[in-house]
């Protein structure tokens, strides 16, 4: 019982902090809007079959915003360590697993709030989104987000200081987003790029969302949803273990 309470408390803290950080909420909304309106608008002349580029881009942008928020939630553990609060949490008489679960669920919840807001932008730019595709997107988004938060938590338990944060952004987050096929159709990409993209777990998240929202994608839905689910499951398990081991 007290373990549930601990999960809840850690989760609640994430939400309170998220709610207070108006700047972060706003900026993480501006980024997807810029991509959709300017990037999507500029490439407006591109038609992929009967789908315009803005619509094509849309599922990728949803995945991208999930990615950035989820990973930074995971990495927030580094901040907690820096400001000493992690110690207070780690000496509490609860299992590390509960703390990990609270962190992961907290990160996932904030990412989902943001993700759903971005999803709602579909109506603004005229992407055909029905109630059923909207509802189907949500579990897929949860799967993506939980996986990425766990990756963030794994990194946080491996690296020591906040200075490495920029390195992670450049060497992990940007490549994962660019390789995921969020901006271009994988089916038409050069062979070498295809292979690299298939290593990127986010590819399967983007493909799954695109399949649901637009009904077409480079990979069959069954494959993309299985890969991203397995990836997230592994990330959660490894994350839990890494968190358990850290000092």
């Amino acid at each position: 019982m007290s373990e549930f309470e601990a999960v809840y408390r850690v989760w609640l803290r994430e939400l309170i902090r998220y709610g207070r950080d108006k700047g972060r909420i706003l900026s993480s909304l501006v980024q997807p809007l810029l991509f959709l309106v300017i990037f999507g608008g500029g490439f407006g002349f591109v038609k992929l079959g009967n789908i315009n580029y803005q619509s094509f881009l849309f599922p990728g942008i949803v995945a991208m915003s999930l990615m950035t928020i989820s990973i930074s939630s995971g990495l927030s553990v580094i901040w907690d360590r820096e400001f000493g609060f992690l110690k207070e949490i780690l000496v509490a008489p609860v299992s590390r697993m509960s703390i990990f679960a609270g962190k992961a669920l907290g990160g996932c919840t904030t990412a989902m709030i943001q993700g759903i807001i971005v999803l709602c932008l579909s109506f603004v730019i005229g992407v055909p989104l029905t109630i059923s595709t909207f509802l189907m997107s949500i579990p897929v988004m949860v799967i993506i987000s939980l996986g990425i938060v766990s990756i963030g938590l794994i990194i946080a338990s491996l690296i020591e200081t906040i200075e490495n944060f920029g390195v992670i952004m450049n060497f992990l987050i940007f490549p994962m987003i660019f390789l995921s096929g969020a901006f271009f159709p994988l089916a038409d990409a050069p062979q070498w790029l295809k292979y690299v993209s298939y290593i990127d777990p986010l590819t399967y998240g983007v493909e799954s969302l695109r399949n649901i929202i637009l009904g077409v994608a480079s990979l069959p839905f069954s494959i993309s949803i299985s890969v991203i689910s397995i990836f997230s499951l592994c990330a959660i398990l490894i994350g839990g273990m890494a968190f358990n081991r850290q000092k």
Partner: protein, 328 residues
Amino acid sequence: MLAIETFNLTKEFDGLKAVDNLNLQINQGEIFGLLGPNGAGKTTFISMLCTILKPSSGTAKVNDFDLIKQQNEVRKSIGIVFQDPSLDNRLTGMENLEMHAGMYAVPKSERKKRIDEVLEIVTLSDRAKELVRNYSGGMKRRLEIARGLIHYPKILFLDEPTLGLDPQTRDHIWEYIKKLAEREKITIIVTTHYMEEADALCDRVAIMDYGKIKVLGTPENLKNGLEGDIVTVVVDKTEDIESKIKNFDEVTKVLVSGNNVHITVKDGEKFSLKILDLLRKDGVKVDSINIRKPTLGDVFLHYTGREIREEVPGKKEGMRRMARMRGI
């Protein structure tokens, strides 16, 4: 009844023993002071008792729970105020306390009452709804003390609770601690740099250096243990001075620290005349001379050979400190 009993408790960092085979007993309900220079191993010692660090060898009983086998029980039964700040600045004071109460499974029905109680002890009731980032240093410390008390701990660890605070705030914090010990009837274990404060507050103190306890007792007994007065002469040169002074039978200890020569001696008044004669004959210029009863600071100097405020660490000590920082 013992609150804490350690058995050869040891912590090594890369072959350096930060805490070296420590055997210590702390009674229930006492205020126990742990004194020592930076890098003496105080924080490492406390960190082990709080289950933050695993001992390299040895063990301890905390509130009758085994430090290693009953980690969660130990954690539930103690409160900790860390040396470094550990509050969430983006939460309010109240939210910090609520989170702690939840993590420590304080029964829901008691939470509100208990939080109000601890806020009252540290007189923060009217500021509880503000964000912690707007608190002053002293308020943050008080909130941390309040937080450490929420779950009815039997022992409260305070690691340098007044470090970096101004003298007035320091007085206040000590007042809270004293009030607390009386009101909550808990054992308090405190590390500090401030000798006068330890003297005034602690029932017993232990002086720690290089991972070992040099001496332990009530402040009164420790001071009396020096047997005599402290004569301090400030001179312009200190060469050979130590051996010369030691030739006097009544001198029990001589310590040279910079230009200060601290002499422990019976009947300080008489001796001070003798020493002035000697120094004048040797052509040593005496700036000032001071005779007084020993303080805890003198006890510290006596057993460690250093003044507590000597902040520049020797090489070995510096390594210890690094080891400690890496350990946490």
